[in-house]
């Protein structure tokens, strides 16, 4: 079986004009970094993988995840997690409920609670469950966002400029955490970034997109 994320002959066009054409493979636990200026179609590529491409664009080719063809699948059925530069914690839910939001179905209430508690402990936020997400620091929120994604057991992880809003001293710490986690869970990671340091820390293949 073909594990990991495979992008086959993908071509994204808008109004007949080709925006981007790419072939790539990301092995489980590996990171593929896409770099390029604004407008080069980096984020559009992520939309194709997510499955919510805006109607103005057209995509041909295939995206395969662990051998599964994602074409035509509903976004929520793809198991592709995404992290943005903002943690985007749901502001009306407490921290624990944010984490529980993506837990796959199954298990008793107590088991689900325990999973969330354990996740919080893992990222050093023991007892933060009932907290208002708006009261977390930037680094704390970033960790919760990562953990929320991991708890949903994604088959692939997309990172859209994920560290650009963090303080410089926090940035490296979170970066290491994300990559280590992905490696440990054997999830293929697709990252778009401006920051050469991100690419370097990821240590994987780098594709530079032109305009």
């Amino acid at each position: 079986m073909d594990r990991g994320l495979r992008i086959e002959g993908l071509r994204i066009t808008r109004g007949g004009e080709t925006l981007l054409a790419i072939d790539a493979h990301v092995a489980p636990g590996a990171v593929l970094t896409l770099m390029g200026p604004s407008g080069s179609g980096k984020s559009t590529l992520l939309s194709v993988v997510m499955g919510d491409l805006a109607p103005a664009f057209r995509a041909t080719g295939r995206v395969l995840l662990d051998g599964r063809d994602l074409t035509g699948l509903a976004p929520e059925a793809r198991h592709v997690g995404i992290l943005y530069q903002d943690p985007l914690l749901f502001p009306h839910l407490d921290v624990a409920t944010n984490l529980a939001f993506g837990l796959p179905r199954g298990g008793t209430r107590a088991e689900r609670r325990a999973a969330v508690e354990a996740a919080l402990a893992e990222i050093g936020l023991d007892g933060y469950g009932p907290r208002d997400p708006a009261t977390l620091s930037g680094g704390q929120a970033a960790r919760v966002a990562l953990m929320r994604t991991l708890l949903s057991k994604p088959c692939a992880l997309l990172l859209d400029e994920p560290f650009s809003k963090l303080d410089t001293d926090r940035r490296d710490q979170i970066r290491q955490l994300v990559f280590a986690r992905a490696r440990a869970a054997e999830i293929p990671v697709l990252m778009v970034t401006h920051d050469a340091a991100d690419a370097e820390a990821a240590g994987g293949e780098i594709i530079r997109l032109g305009v």
Partner: protein, 552 residues
């Protein structure tokens, strides 16, 4: 499942308007009403037509210019300051006060024997008020002033909402760093963007100004009255064939309204050109005077309406109260005992109707917005015009026809017809107040949630709607206020059988009993304000521990 909703909404909005127009055109050309001989020439021959139309147009345009100008000056000069916050707080509740109640209160304040004049009268010992034509002046100036006071909060809130979409803060900062004054910089850099956003609401205010009945009947001139009031009179004339004249008059007013709209849009182009010339010229503005005028006039307008409401309150508990006393000889609960129980019973029916109309509208609106998100079903700017259709076509033109045509299908006046009529007017406002926040909601939340495996329904119910609870409740409050204020709709489509607080209040207004008007007017104002209070209070209680929900 959501796909048919935009079409259904279109039908709900445009259907009644079209039916009403057909029902107006037929009698105007001599069909449907027997014995109507040449209705159009009868309407055209009415000796007061020129003046009535003149007053309608003049007061309508003047009030729109006034309200828009004032709202602009206030925002340009004071947005983000402490006086602005105070003014916003004073003006917002006035949005909910029904037009009729505000106008009745205002009338007592500014009349020659009213509150304002009683102060000098008491001091100088006047026994008789001066015989001055303040209310009902022939040019409709007091009518225009009343309309400005009532429309200012509406435009101000609409413009405030639009500000968020034009990066006002940073634009103004750039303009000021380039040496522009606060007001001049705002007008040059922010106003064009804001105006583009509030253009349709401004046109609604314009149409309302030209064609309203409830304010004009209280504050407008009587010799002759505005054309809309005259049309209402024709509609209720004992000579039955006059109804056809009313239909013809309605079409004349419609044509005039279209001409005014066209002139206004032409004026926009001229103003845009002048504005560019102004930017090139590099001239500024007398900043202090502009700021002072804006704040001063807006304060006066807010104080007048609030004084008017206070006057209603005092009248509702007044024993004997004659000129020139500033306050009644005594206070009594008699008026409340006399009119209160019936008022409360009617209030219950009124609220029930308002809740029903608003819920129907809310379901349609959320359905349309969600369909837009899911299926890209949007007709863009054209849909927006459709939304405004019922608000841009004079009520006195199409409501009588809307009563007549269902009748011809065997559907008599009923609660259901009234409900439909209310939805026609409530839905646009619910849509307008909800679509902005709905679109402004960060779509990345949905993407994150989808990545976590949440379906689109789960995103809607668990994220989008709960996070938008504030705007949704505000939209509900706006919708209920609109419903509570519907006069002609309730009267005509209910055939007089469906009574709400506003039909009762206006019926009483013709009798001029200020005590009864006080009780009913206050009741009506409270009925409209209560949902707003809840809309503010509920999210604050629900999300008292969620800081991220406080400025959403």
């Amino acid at each position: 499942m959501l796909r048919p909703l935009p079409l259904l909404t279109t039908l709900v909005l445009a259907g009644p308007v079209l039916v009403g127009l057909i029902g107006a055109v037929l009698p105007a050309f001599g069909y449907l009403v027997p014995g109507a001989d040449m209705p159009f020439s009868r309407a055209l021959d009415w000796p007061g037509l020129t003046r009535a139309l003149g007053v309608s147009v003049f007061s309508g345009v003047l009030s729109t210019l006034g309200a828009l100008g004032l709202a602009t000056l206030i925002l340009a000069g004071w947005h983000g300051t402490r006086p602005f916050a105070w003014l916003e707080r004073a003006l917002s509740p006035l949005l909910a006060v029904p037009h009729a109640a505000a106008a009745l209160g205002l009338a007592f304040v500014v009349a020659p024997s009213g509150w304002l004049m009683r102060a000098p009268a008491t001091l100088l010992g006047w026994e008789r008020p001066p015989d001055l034509l303040i209310l009902g002046d022939p040019f409709g100036l007091s009518l225009a002033a009343g309309l400005v006071a009532k429309e200012l909060p509406f435009l101000l809130l609409m413009m405030l909402a639009a500000l968020g979409q034009v990066q006002a803060g940073s634009r103004l900062a750039v303009a000021r760093s380039l040496g522009q004054g606060r007001v001049a910089g705002w007008l040059k850099t922010i106003f064009p963007g804001v105006y583009a956003q509030v253009r349709l609401p401004v046109l609604v205010v314009l149409v309302f100004g030209v064609t309203n009945v409830d304010v004009a009947v209280i504050l407008g001139p009587t010799t002759p009255s505005t054309l809309s009031v005259q049309i209402t009179r024709w509609m209720t004339d004992p000579d039955l064939s006059t109804r056809a004249v009313a239909a013809a008059g309605g079409l004349i007013l419609f044509a005039a309204t279209l001409a005014v709209l066209a002139a206004w849009i032409a004026g926009e182009h001229v103003l845009a050109r002048l504005g560019r010339a102004w930017v090139w010229s590099g001239h500024g503005l007398p900043e202090r005077a502009a700021r002072g005028t804006g704040l001063g006039l807006a304060t006066v307008s807010a104080v007048m309406v609030l004084l008017g409401l206070a006057a209603l309150a005092v009248w509702s508990v007044a024993a004997r109260w004659t000129f020139p006393d500033l306050l009644p000889e005594g206070l009594t609960l008699r008026s409340w005992n006399r009119f209160g129980p019936e008022m409360l019973a009617t209030a219950g029916d009124t609220m029930l109707l308002a809740v029903a109309a608003t819920l129907v509208s809310l379901v349609l609106v959320i359905g349309c917005l969600e369909a837009e998100v899911r299926h890209g079903l949007t007709a863009g700017q054209r849909a927006l015009w459709l939304l405004y259709l019922p608000l841009l076509i004079p009520q006195v033109t199409f409501l009588p026809g809307l009563q007549l045509l269902p009748l011809s299908l065997g559907i008599g006046p009923s609660l259901w017809l009234v409900l439909l009529g209310h939805v026609v007017f409530v839905l646009p406002y619910v849509f307008l107040s909800l679509s902005g926040p709905f679109h402004a909601w960060d779509p990345r939340f949905a993407q994150v949630a989808t990545g976590l495996g949440a379906s689109r329904n789960r995103v809607l119910w668990r994220l989008r709607l709960p996070m938008l609870i504030g705007p949704i409740l505000t939209a509900v409050a706006v919708g209920m206020a609109v419903s509570v204020g519907q006069y002609l709709t309730t009267l005509l489509l209910g055939g007089g059988r469906v009574t709400t607080m506003v039909t009762e209040a206006v019926a009483l207004a013709s009798g001029g009993n200020r005590r009864a008007i006080g009780v009913w007017g206050l009741g009506q104002a409270l009925a409209a304000l209560l949902p707003f209070a809840l809309a503010l209070l509920l999210p604050a209680i629900l999300y008292r521990n969620r800081r991220g929900m406080r400025h959403g």
